[in-house]
Symmetry: C2
Subunit: 601 residues, 2 copies
């Protein structure tokens, strides 16, 4: 495959095959129909469709953002055309079981497939990925009838799906949602309320939209324990699967964003009387699973969605890096310090060390982020298909502790990669003649949605590392130690030793933070904790990559491996030292923020 | 004055009067007509005009960016209206001498005036500030006739000015400009060439535009030593000052930017035959000063422009911080950890420690940045008006070493403040319903223009700290030591001691980097050096502020001082430790970047 500015097929090959050995998954029953050839074929197809149908309208979808005409959401026509090609290629259902029309692809390969589309056009790719997440949730928690009714049309791309959690007054605080679901005699519910920030909440791309809606059944417990989950289709579905009456789900407005504009983002009214199915008030909804357990189901989906957000952030950073690299290799300007003869020809700017610094930093972020996302997806496969219950449980626990990092680290550092990409291009990067400014704007959403950066920090330090007496963190430490053990006696021993020391410090700091059992004090600096652990985790994955790299090879192959090793060295020498002051701050139990009165700001 | 979301009048009062004692400048002859009252009156007027005429169209100028209709650049009409009010209030000429129609304001007060307009509307404020910089350059280096012809119309806001340095093929590399200036028999020149990235390069706001253009006179030395500076008016000016024939300066295109959109940014053709003054080819230009010394004159202006860019970056960060603070105090969501009773009312989000962390960090960046900018402007006043030549020279040397920091540090950290502001607002911050996303986009220009971040690093480590056997750095160290000396025996002794240690390490690292006289190796990590020194300088200015803060006061005044002290502590505990790994990296003489082959990326 020729070199692409969207994503690096060579790097994916390295990560999937040379490092993660994904071919071994075909030994598992679930993936037995697959082979390295089928994995590679679907990846190549993804790259082709992403290149030919997604990337070309990325700018157009940004310039002509979704708008409402006669009550309908209008998108640039290329979106529907691209999604038709995507669905026809079976991409929506790539990870679904075969009996539901899916390709039954491993999660790790599926995530690599996603990365191609996210890097090419994050806005357009959101529609099918939300749909796939919706379908996955129904497969896991819906009744057989619900699955039969809603999943195949989504798998075929005829219907799309959404997740409707947030509300105008609630934001990150789902305990405060007020959408009500009144039980009806026929077992269905009638919903009333308003949902905010609903991506893909309304459009004309498909004939139906399946909303998964969080709401409270009157009389239930207060707070998050009283939240239930409902299927609320835009158009009601008859027993034969045919579309019937319009449900009372009405677009109340579009959000106009800084970036990520291709994905329409909506305010939706449920049961406000815009339509009254059967002549009665309320939007018709169907309970998923049991009442009051809605948040549990949603979080099951959300963990995968969070890894997906991390990979999306990585993909946006990755394509930014590749565009900057391409520019730096072709744009000539200035001369080397050693020979500042003004009569000499200018050199490509990649020859200037400061430009290489920016590119190498970006490379270490985006390849590190991709390794993190794929590693987590590989754990999803282990969690599902490992041979022993102990191995599945181990994968589950490790995934629990890694998920907030898989979401937040790329959202921070691959955005930083796009910031560096803008800087490499300079004034050109600040104009809309080049795509990097859009990647930068698009990527800025990722530290916000699917749980903000600060929410991920509370999740990691407040839940994940304390659960089961710290078993998750202990398992992470053990897993890292297995890698550093392999590094002993190699040229990477020093990186391994640094990681060992940092992991030990994280363990000590975690204990110290929780020593007095005061969650307010323990969690006051949770974000610093998240960022420190995140950097150590990515440092470990750089060691993993370095150890998977043969110290040989010539030409392009040799340069590829040399680049991997150099990026690992960069992360070791330039990035990991940043963790030192963070852990030192945490170790002091710093109260600066906690003791700051709002009146002082 | 009521609290504003544009800038803090109380903070400016503290910085200008309680800390920098600007009233003492009125003891100098140049500023003898002024008093605290006149300073405060002009600041109050600036705040009023910024609030009433600049801020209201900040979003409109972003949404309706400059565009060309029938060959003319069209802006939203509010821009011209605001600039009329601005000019009529004498703001363009605020720092010019009285005999040229100016207010003869000290640079430090003038910069505070600028900050109000930059925070309110960076795009509109650029027109008069470029004009003022242009006029200042002519006052310093033009002939009396040139000054008489061009400065008063600019001071009155009837004409605007530009700086035309860059070219499409040259970017940061001015040595490679190819615009030619052919001397004519009458002493004028004829220019031909194309200039890129020219802010305010064309518009209908004024009846004339005075371009200051860098060009090469044939036969001069190669590279930067062959660059001369020319006045090239859009419309030629008769001896009586009346406008005459159109000069051959033609708009070739507009750049469409991510932000900063209100300032039109142009590609300009000089002498390409769009007009032919007197029927002869070439744009008519008038030499400023001597041939081949153009870059020296331009850099004289550019140093002040760089401080101005830093203050602009600070202003954008400051208003972002204030908007986020306002949102955090009024938006309710969630509950304190200590009392997670779901039935309790939600609290303002400023009550959540992670939100306070973001606000306190932003506060430490924007107030630190403002202190840095004003300190440098105060040095400009010293350089101009101090009583002894030794004091003027001292101010000049200190300013030389601080200028790259005054430009780059706020461009990095006050952009970070806007990033935090977006994060505090969450999803809302990502929408165009709130202004913070625009501040974030606008501010992203600042690490690029007027010398990129990397260029500033080369300036600091490659020129400023090595000039005169390191006299500039020694003077900076001495100046910081004078502050840490005052901190001894106070509650701030530990911050002083930390700064002493860091300054010593910077001195050692600087020596080590240059020890073998290999500029390529010394400068390979110049950006890390710039960032480390910048953080230490701002840490020092936080100590300065803390020492100027009475540990007393009640109510709002007490809270103001407590906030200053807390921000100083934050910078001490959270920010200064980041410098440790940077200096450690520099001390190893790290070659990771230098040894990276472009083929490995």
């Amino acid at each position: 495959m020729p070199a692409s500015s969207i994503l690096s097929a060579r790097d994916l090959e390295f990560l999937l095959h040379e490092w993660l050995q994904v071919e071994t998954l075909t030994e598992r029953e679930r993936y037995a129909e697959h082979s390295r050839e089928t994995f590679d074929a679907v990846l190549e197809l993804a790259a082709e469709i992403a290149t030919d149908h997604f990337a070309p309208h990325n700018r157009a979808a940004d310039e002509h953002e979704p708008h409402v005409v006669d009550g309908k959401v209008v998108l640039v026509p290329e979106v529907a055309a691209a999604l038709r090609v995507f669905a026809d290629a079976g991409m929506t259902a790539a990870a679904l079981p075969e009996e539901l029309g899916g390709l039954q692809l491993p999660a790790v390969v599926n995530l690599a497939v996603h990365a191609w589309f996210q890097a090419a056009n994050i806005g357009t790719s959101a529609y099918p990925f939300l749909t796939a997440a919706n379908a996955n949730l129904l497969v896991a928690h819906g009744t057989p009838e619900q699955v039969r009714t809603y999943v195949p049309p989504m798998a075929e791309g005829r219907w799309f799906g959404t997740m409707a959690l947030s509300e105008p007054q609630a934001g990150s605080s789902l305990a405060d949602i007020t959408t009500r679901a009144e039980p009806q005699d026929d077992g269905s519910y009638r919903l009333t309320g308003t949902k905010m920030w609903i991506s893909a909440g309304d459009h004309e791309l498909t004939e139906n939209i399946v909303h998964l809606v969080l709401a409270k059944v009157p009389g239930g417990p207060a707070g998050v324990k009283g939240i239930s989950l409902f299927i609320v289709p835009k158009v009601l579905v008859g027993e034969d699967g045919a579309l019937g009456e319009r449900n009372d789900v009405v677009l109340a407005g579009l959000n106009h964003k800084m970036g990520y504009r291709g994905t329409t983002n909506t305010l939706l009214n449920f049961g406000e009387g815009g339509h009254t199915p059967g002549g009665r008030p309320g939007a018709v909804g169907f309970l998923v699973g049991e009442e009051h357990r809605g948040l549990t189901y949603m979080f099951h989906m959300m963990n995968e969605a969070r890894i997906g957000v991390g990979v999306g952030a990585t993909a946006l950073g990755y394509t930014g890096y590749l565009h900057a690299l391409d520019y730096a290799r072709t744009r000539t300007q200035g001369r080397p310090l050693a020979g500042k003869d003004p009569a000499a020809a200018p050199v490509p700017i990649v020859e200037h060390p400061d430009v290489r610094r920016m590119l190498l930093a970006a490379k270490s972020y985006v390849e590190g982020g991709l390794a993190l996302g794929l590693y987590c997806a590989r754990l999803v496969d282990e969690e599902r298909t490992a041979g022993s219950a102990a191995d599945r449980d181990r994968a589950h626990r490790l995934l629990e502790v890694l998920t907030p990092i898989a979401k937040s680290w790329p959202s921070q550092w691959c955005l930083a990669a796009d910031d560096l990409a803008v800087q490499v291009l300079g004034g050109a990067g600040y104009t809309r003649d080049f795509p990097v400014e859009q990647f930068y704007r698009d990527n800025r959403l990722n530290p916000i949605h699917e749980g903000t950066h600060g929410i991920q920090a509370l999740d990691l330090l407040g839940r994940k590392v304390v659960a089961d007496d710290g078993a998750g963190l202990a398992l992470l430490a053990e897993t890292i130690a297995a890698t550093t053990q392999r590094a002993r006696g190699t040229e990477w021993a020093d990186l391994g030793a640094t990681l060992d020391e940092l992991v030990a410090r994280i363990g000590a700091v975690t204990g110290a933070l929780w020593a007095d059992g005061d969650p307010e004090r323990a969690l006051a600096n949770a974000t610093v904790y998240l960022e420190a652990v995140g950097h150590v985790v990515v440092g470990w994955l750089w060691l993993e990559q370095a150890l998977a790299t043969p110290d040989q090879g010539e030409g392009r192959e040799g340069a590829f491996y040399a680049g991997k090793r150099q990026a690992a060295r960069f992360f070791q020498r330039w990035e990991l030292p940043k963790v030192g002051p963070q852990l030192a701050l945490l170790a002091t139990g710093d109260r600066t923020v906690l003791d700051t009165s709002p009146a002082w700001l």
